[in-house]
Symmetry: C2
Subunit: 383 residues, 2 copies
Amino acid sequence: MTPKTLHDLPTPSLVLDRAKLARNIRRMEEACARNGVALRPHLKTAKSIDVARMVLGEQTKGIAVSTLCEAEYFAGHGIRDIQYAVCITPDKLERVAAIQATGAKVALITDNANVARAIADKHGQIDTTFHVQIEVDCGENRTGVLPGSDQVTEIARILYAAPNVDFDGVMTHAGHSYACRSLQEIEALAEAERLAAVTAAEAVRALGIECRTVSVGSTPTALHARNLDGITETRAGVYMFGDVFQAQILSCTLDDLAVSVLTDVSSHRPDLNHLTVDAGALALSKDRSTEKVANDVGFGLVGDVAGKVIVPQLIVERVYQEHGLVPMCEGQRLEDYPIGRRLRIYPNHVCMTVAMYDRYYVVDSETGNGTDIVAVWSRVNGW
Amino acid sequence: MTPKTLHDLPTPSLVLDRAKLARNIRRMEEACARNGVALRPHLKTAKSIDVARMVLGEQTKGIAVSTLCEAEYFAGHGIRDIQYAVCITPDKLERVAAIQATGAKVALITDNANVARAIADKHGQIDTTFHVQIEVDCGENRTGVLPGSDQVTEIARILYAAPNVDFDGVMTHAGHSYACRSLQEIEALAEAERLAAVTAAEAVRALGIECRTVSVGSTPTALHARNLDGITETRAGVYMFGDVFQAQILSCTLDDLAVSVLTDVSSHRPDLNHLTVDAGALALSKDRSTEKVANDVGFGLVGDVAGKVIVPQLIVERVYQEHGLVPMCEGQRLEDYPIGRRLRIYPNHVCMTVAMYDRYYVVDSETGNGTDIVAVWSRVNGW
């Protein structure tokens, strides 16, 4: 039987509200238009061609991905401009070439001169042109070369000289924007992100080497940057769906959360005044991002089957592999949550949660009643 | 190309050492034999018919599972005695009946009289006999009825009276054994677990109702129980693989860890003296179990490609979606970890980590060199 409403689905299942997704996409497009910059949507969260079709538009140029599996999947669905935004390792180059042989361009990134040389060394061995960008660190302290360092020019020279390489430009990612708690902080970081990328690009150009792409981005900085002069594109991903953590770091509001986990009440403990739901650590993930913000929602915030947050204090406090434990908060009574009652849990960090599912059950809270299933969309997982 | 060794695999990939798995299985079998109790292996961690075939033997009776997906998968592979060890919700009963129609018995559990009535109410609607156990709480404070409570007898009476129900017995799970830090504590908890189950069973028998199954179990209590009088079977799952957390709560040693994540060094930051690997939050999970024990390994302990732990201080300290960050510890130098070097990361909590993969690449550190792939085993994920 094809499920018609959320009441027909097995639990746990993944629910995506198309109306909220559309609104989130619009908000980011407006932010990019304000800054006169192209958007390269990062599909590492959604991993879905159906979402990609909604997100790609006039304002966008190509996509970013975080795994070669995603690159293969999206190239297979006809997307031709892909940035693989994780440092390439030489043993992945054959697979990149195979994707490019289907007609897609896969831009690679590296922060290492030895890797640049290893790519150059594939000349004559792998029959493709590798498009390569230099990853710059704008303060996240994870990967990337420092924008003013000799490494920028060293790597650019190696790549530019290699006959099998199209030197594509520079990119950076202000992932540390997740630690910001005010618009002022995010705006300052967006400017630091811009400066790092532009500084590296200018260093490359000073060598007489063209620096086509100057790419920045993270959801907070892409939304709140006030000036992106010198930047050719901004990348962001989690903005499409939002999550409880993003709502608390000013990327969206709780009303914008497009993804939730459908679950059933499965047990009552009147003596302890809690219930369990059949969405646990695997269904929600063990991410605890909201531990770091004002309103800690444990492992998720509880909504009703139509997606409405019940009260902000009703949360999944503990998780076990297949159990989520929800203590009753003030004003909530176990009697109102009979076993089998369907709920929707909004996760801390949606990128982690969606990774456990192979499909989205799509509802629409604007054109529909929020519980009718209007589509089933695919996802790709793995590496 | 069929991968012949770990060097041929894409990264990240999941690696299972068959020799260590076999040793872990033997250790648990010996513990159960010592206590004269049958073992019901919990396949919620392994989720693999190939692992099930190794673990099922003379000492075992059937399996336990944590999702209906697992029940369907194992029934489809011919396993006939399955306990679905998570509280049943009424909307799942049709699916249970469909599995039973293929010839398997799926024992259900509940801690709720309303659910017992809902099962009884399916008489005449769903053409199957439901095998149902009462879940008892032995102190975990999650699900289950208290062993001496009226709920035990109330639920037993409802189930016993229902023409479509085979009342199967009682079960409990000492999940709080994970909080124990000494053998003495675990032994005491194993005795509390036994007593809870036996007390509930006796309450049922006092009604004149047969209580066939008296089921207990968790990896720590199953391994260290000193007396299981009155118990018909013990369940355990994570013991098969082990993980860094289990090694610290006395379930195994670091040398017993059968599962690791194969990864490549992907970036160097000489200025920060760290490297990144291409196994991040999705490849390892965000589980932080070892935060609670003496040796916190962050998100995983680093081993070499043959599986040998390099030094206990070399750990994945931070994770991002596809990056794991490994600071160099004393005695370790970045030069020894060139980009592309393969490593194997031992996870905190293996149940969470393996859930991200659809297969195990099997090596054998006793009969083989620990890097040749001797088999590829399937896994089932989802619900």
